[in-house]
């Protein structure tokens, strides 16, 4: 069953990996921006909603310890129907991976190195992610153990440095936007990034103790929410209403640093943060896609899949949107429903059917 992946990870490693995953693209585009000064409220509500999704799919995972989502689907539904749904699930991971690549290239070509064509960033990022994926889950986790604390440290440092420039009046008035709009924005926050933790359904079987998955996921979501909130507070406090103008508020905030003695410009930190966390997120999604496909088609080894999937992801990232405007529009409109389907509906229906069919059957004896 799990001969495709021999590694095992511990609970705390899962939390860190999850935090890195959540920070993913949120380091530069934090969710809930449309809510202006109430964005932090949107993030909190979104995190709660994401937490609810998490409770649902972790219940599913606990019901079938040691089985990845693909295997669960095959067990709960008939092998053919299950494989079909699994393919759709894996497609979502693949699509999401191409989003990450897309966000990545957009960011770099907008802010840092304008002249370089998109594809260079995409190719290099994917090569590195492929290296990580080829080495298995344990290596990805180990990388996250080094990268995430570093990023968190950077985040905290930049936050502390921003404090002198924060104008507290920027947070007022609170609750200005009407409630139903706030909920809609929170839902978009729930879907990106918190609900994306649904992909960890493919990772849970490799925990040392699968039962822990629920607790650890919740912790991961909470931590992620806290960190993203810190970024958001910085953005709201320092930039105030102009935040709505900027494509990448977190980046702008750091540009505004005016520390008296250190004359250097720190925005490279934000860039590095995005690079490392984006890499992690892509690696996880890439891994989920490759592992999922491997399990669906009962392959003996994952190696031959890695490069083709990578290339396809890059291609998809390019043809997906014709420009960054479409990217944003997708995220604020269609994505809400599209993602909810995968993050909530599929696990929920699987869970219900599983409960209905009284699976997994307790087998007695040996």
């Amino acid at each position: 069953m799990s001969y495709l992946e021999q590694g095992k990870i511990s609970g705390s490693q899962l939390v860190i990996l999850m935090v890195g995953f959540l920070l993913g693209s949120s380091v530069v585009i934090f969710p809930g921006q449309a809510a202006r000064q109430d964005a932090w409220i949107a993030i909190i509500i979104g995190a709660v909603e994401g937490g609810i999704f998490a409770l649902i799919f972790t219940t599913l995972a606990r019901r079938f310890p040691g089985k990845t989502m693909v295997e669960i689907l095959e067990t709960v539904f008939s092998p053919y129907l299950g494989k079909l749904i699994a393919v759709i699930f894996v497609w979502y991971a693949f699509h999401d991976g191409s989003f990450v690549i897309r966000n990545f290239t957009d960011f770099f070509t907008t802010t840092v190195m304008i002249e370089t064509p998109n594809i260079v960033f995409a190719v290099l990022l994917t090569i590195v992610a492929a290296l990580a994926v080829g080495n298995g889950l344990e290596v990805i986790t180990r990388c996250s153990l080094v990268l995430v604390p570093l990023t968190v440290l950077f985040l905290l440092v930049t936050f502390l440095a921003q404090l002198s420039q924060v104008e507290w009046t920027n947070f007022l008035p609170v609750f200005e936007i009407p409630v139903w709009q706030l909920l809609k924005i929170s839902h978009s926050a729930a879907v990106f990034p918190f609900g994306e933790t649904v992909f960890f359904l493919m990772v849970f079987p490799f925990l040392n103790r699968t039962k822990e998955c629920r607790r650890k996921t919740v912790i991961g979501v909470l931590l992620g929410a806290l960190l993203i909130n810190i970024i958001a507070w910085g953005g709201i406090g320092v930039l105030g209403p102009t935040r709505a103008l900027f494509t990448y508020p977190a980046y702008e905030v750091v540009k505004m640093f005016n520390l008296p003695f250190i004359n250097t410009r720190f925005e490279i930190i934000v860039v590095i943060n995005f690079l490392t966390m984006g890499f992690l997120k892509l690696a996880v999604l890439y891994y989920v896609t490759v592992l999922g496909l491997g399990q669906i088609f009962h392959l003996r080894s994952l190696r031959p899949l890695i490069i083709p999937i990578g290339i396809l992801m890059i291609i998809l990232s390019i043809i997906n949107f014709s420009g960054i405007t479409e990217n944003f529009e997708f995220n604020t409109t269609s994505n809400l429903i599209y993602s909810t389907f995968f993050q909530l509906v599929i696990p929920l229906i699987t869970l219900i059917v599983a409960m209905f069919r009284r699976l997994p059957r307790r087998e007695r004896g040996c």
Binding site: I114, T116, V120, P241, T242
Partner: protein, 391 residues
Amino acid sequence: MKLQNRLTFSILIIAMTLIGSGCWSYRELETLGIVSGAGFDLGKDPEQVLLTVQVIKASKGKGGGNGSLGDGQGQGSRPQPVAIVESNGATAFEAVRNAVSKFSRRLYWPHNQILIVGKEAAENGVKNYLNFGIRQTELRPTAWIMISPGKAGDLIRAPGEMGQIPAMEIKDMLQAQSATSEIGSFTFYDFIERLMSKTTAPLATQIRLNKEGEVELAGTAIFKGEKLVGFIGKKETRGLLWVIGKIKSGVVIVKAPANKGKVSLGIIHAAGKIQAETKNDSVKITVKVNVQSGLGEQTGDLDTSKPEVIKSLARREATVIRNEINAAFKKAQELNADIFGFGEAVHRADFKAWKKLEPRWDEIFPKLKVKLIVKTNISLNGLINKPISQK
């Protein structure tokens, strides 16, 4: 494939990706024209933009300590550290690109310190330049924005006093203003922030060439929306700064009681708060200013060791401050520009009422009544207790 073949293949692919496509963003330092200051004016016809740019000239003699051999260029006693470039275009962006026809290097903006807009261009509307500034990643939102009552180009061309790069000197001048707090310094970003609010008036420092041809900072320029509407002098600027809390330090001169000369009070700390209340469509604004100061110097021999004297000085100080603020307020109401941000204060206090009040702010503002509370406290005396006098 065999391991060797695979390795060779992968290395080839990576190498081709990197090398074959060339290095795009690679910029040698020498190809960059580092812009230190820029000025926008109206071009020959009002549709055109005239851009004047100060580009830093990095001379070799500065870097090499032992280079008496290689430095054959002997540039005279005072090498000019900057070059001035002028160019025209239909929009700011185009003007920047057109500079290439007169200048060998590519303009490099991230180290730009100041942005000056000439009066005519400002009266025409600055949105053009702002959009350029903020959408491009190279300009930094922390550059200082200033308005000149004449042409921005003249100021950009003015040489620096200390032989340094003129724009840097202007920047240092701006930062030194906190000693008197009579000139406000506003960044590009501050300007845009104010512009985004429908009611608050954007502000910029006023900079001009005085009669001796020196660069001088002289008050504040007030905008309504994107257009320049007027200037206020140093005294009113300070009144404004009291309210928005940007006073760092300064001197308030107070007439001593019983005609015993004048006393200078140094400001240690000043904070201003704006509070708004709404009551059935009418707006009440309260401004609270809290000032801590210390005795600086005095002419005359007022005995400063008695507490009543100190209290009386504090009261007079409050009066002086109040006058400054009132002067600023009057001017603002004349120009119908909400330079203090009272509108946003109302927004923060009661956003439902603000929805109705905002469109009418232009009518409400000139008639606005503001309650001003100034609290002063003289906490320090300096090193001497009593004045030097002959008894």
